[in-house]
């Protein structure tokens, strides 16, 4: 049985506390040697623990409450970011945020699911589960980006689209479907980062693009492990088994050719060193933007089409 992340991370937390205690002590060469020794021990511990994570533990890293969220990345990438609100039809959905800002001198459109940190924010953001308005706002912003020729960067981090009466009444399915169709032919480069949880259609609705990257400990799945377990095992407690069966980790998805790259996380996961994670992502984004900018837009659209066109594993008989 796969242990919970908090259990396996306990020795890391303990060692970190010890290190902080050491650092608070008055400086001495003895203290410095001890800090050096314990730091190395910590690095080794993190490396050992993180290289052997089970799929279920990776799900928990992907959902870690201290993991950087869309807002954190946007603020780091574009200090001049301006958020733009509303779908112009019904409401502003806080579960998806978006707007424009300057990244390394280039104006880009940034859109992403936003989970809340504390309970008040979580409720405000609906735990990152969008209603149709969220997807319609995202599409409105993408159309603006297309009109003014700015690349689009999407951050995926959602348990899924909100399953509620109001969401169904206002066309949750139609909102997601339309985004899939429009993003397939949007005439600007689209870069997609799954920064935490990629929950089914609610994730894919802002996930069609030219380059799809998963952060090393992110997940992307057709259904949550809990949902899958309760349907196929009739027991939500079997989620660890479902997580394994679903092939939802970055490594597995890359092998299945469903994503283009894996963006490396710091030792111990993105939550262990958010500033380093931000730098990794910024570098990755810059190199992808440089690459995509070189290509002709029709060629880019052809490649985008062919990439999704080729997804699927079937036998061709006879």
């Amino acid at each position: 049985m796969s242990k919970d992340l908090s259990t396996i991370e306990a020795p890391i937390i303990e060692l970190k506390t010890k290190l902080e205690g050491l650092k608070a002590q008055p400086p001495s060469s003895k203290r410095d040697r001890e800090i050096e020794k314990q730091s190395q021990k910590l690095a080794k511990l993190q490396k050992d623990i993180y290289k052997n994570l089970t799929e279920w533990q990776i799900c928990q890293v992907a959902r870690h409450p201290k993991r950087p969220y869309t807002r954190d990345y946007i603020q780091y990438l574009c200090p001049d970011f301006e958020e733009l609100h509303g779908d112009r039809r019904f409401a502003d959905d806080a579960a998806i945020m978006g707007g424009f800002g300057t990244f390394n001198g280039e104006v880009v459109c940034l859109i992403g699911h936003q989970k809340g940190r504390d309970i008040k924010q979580k409720l405000h953001r609906n735990f990152g589960m969008p209603r149709p308005e969220g997807y319609r706002k995202a599409l409105r912003l993408m159309k603006l980006a297309e009109k003014f020729n700015r690349p689009v960067v999407c951050f995926i981090d959602t348990p899924g689209a909100y399953p509620g009466i109001d969401a169904e009444e206002r066309g949750q399915a139609e909102a997601i479907a339309l985004n899939l169709k429009e993003m397939a032919v949007l005439r600007v480069p689209i870069l997609v980062y799954v920064i935490g949880e990629g929950g089914s259609g609610g994730a894919l609705a802002i996930g069609v693009g030219d380059h799809i990257s998963l952060l090393q400990n992110s997940i992307y799945s057709v259904i949550s492990p809990e949902g899958c377990a309760s349907i196929l095992w009739k027991d939500a407690e079997q989620a660890p088994k479902a997580a394994e069966a679903l092939n939802l980790t970055a490594e597995k998805l890359k092998k299945l050719d469903l994503i283009d790259s894996i963006c490396e996380e710091p030792l111990g996961g993105a939550h262990a060193d958010p500033p380093l994670m931000m730098r990794h992502l910024a570098e990755h984004l810059q190199s992808q933007l440089d690459d995509l900018r070189k290509r002709d837009i029709d060629q880019l659209l052809d490649q985008r089409y062919r990439k999704f066109r080729n997804m699927g594993k079937y036998a061709q008989v006879g």
């Binding site: 399953p163 169904e168 899939l180 259609g201 095992w233 089409y305």
Partner: protein, 283 residues
């Protein structure tokens, strides 16, 4: 025929009572619970003559109902399922597929057909709920996409009859990506200004609704079909409230602006001919 012997489908609302159907010449209507003579039901396109309940029908029967002289050619049946993840839950996906292969279910969960409707070529695809709940995996994605691409190339319209519980979990994220794949093909069809009519039948939920089923130039549904993104049970578990009467049925979707019309099975062929005529290409 096994399709209306089935006692209850896995994604019907939990509240519906199970109905036992006597074998043989008679069928019990799931709508009004009346006993109906099977021959009478057949004559009426498998629609209950008493309450208008639309029984689930096989893709073959649907296709015969639509094409001129009941003539059509089935396409892409050389595309067959694999078990790319070696998926194992209580059952293994491999065994499930093997059982269906033994039953000679060669069309997987969608039949793609080409033929003529009112003398003009059209590609009509029909999903089959009896194949793993009509779930959308690689084969459904590939066959539908090939059908749409063929229509795009040859300049003919596309009609898709949806009937599905959504994406096929046993193919993991591969099945999720079929939503993007099919929608992208539809975007290219649209760029050629070729019409797509989506027909939603009972039930259409999950990733199928949230992709091609909602992308028609015209979206129509059979009466009282269950149509939604999230399944009723998932919604009930999330909000912990009773769902309103008629929630996620065709009539509810029409009222909320998601459908162009509700069309009974008997009028379907004539309506499709009309719609496609409205949108026929003019230079």
């Amino acid at each position: 025929m096994s399709w209306f012997i089935k006692k209850s489908s896995p994604i019907k609302p939990a509240k519906q009572k199970k109905v036992t159907i006597p074998e043989g010449l008679w069928d019990k209507c799931l709508g009004c619970k009346e006993i109906i003579y099977r021959q009478e039901l057949k004559r009426n396109n498998n629609v209950c003559p008493k309450c208008d309940y639309h029984f689930r029908v096989s893709p073959e029967e649907r296709l015969q109902l639509l094409f001129d002289q009941e003539a059509f050619e089935l396409l892409f049946d050389d595309v067959q399922p694999l078990d790319p993840l070696s998926f194992k839950a209580v059952k293994t996906y491999k065994d499930q597929l093997k059982k269906l292969a033994d039953l000679k279910k060669v069309h997987e969960a969608v039949w793609v057909a080409k033929g003529k409707l009112d003398g003009r070529p059209v590609v009509i695809s029909v999903m089959d709920f009896s194949f793993l709940g009509g779930s959308m995996g690689s084969v459904v994605g590939e066959k539908l996409t090939r059908g749409i691409e063929l229509a795009t190339e040859e300049g003919c319209p596309v009609v898709i009859f949806s009937c599905s519980g959504g994406a096929r979990m046993m193919e993991g994220a591969i099945s999720l990506m079929q939503m993007a794949k099919i929608s992208a093909a539809l975007a290219r069809l649209a760029q050629k200004r070729l019409p797509f009519v989506s027909v939603l039948t009972d039930p259409t939920t999950g990733g199928v609704t949230a992709s091609y089923a909602m992308l028609g130039d015209i979206n129509i549904a059979e009466p009282k079909a269950l149509i939604g993104f999230a399944g009723p049970r998932v919604i009930q578990q999330t909000i912990r409230q009773e769902l309103p009467p008629g929630f996620q049925r065709s009539e509810f979707l029409l009222e909320h602006g998601m459908l162009d019309a509700i069309v009974t099975r008997g009028e379907l062929r004539e309506k499709l001919i009309k719609y496609l005529h409205f949108f026929r290409f003019q230079a």
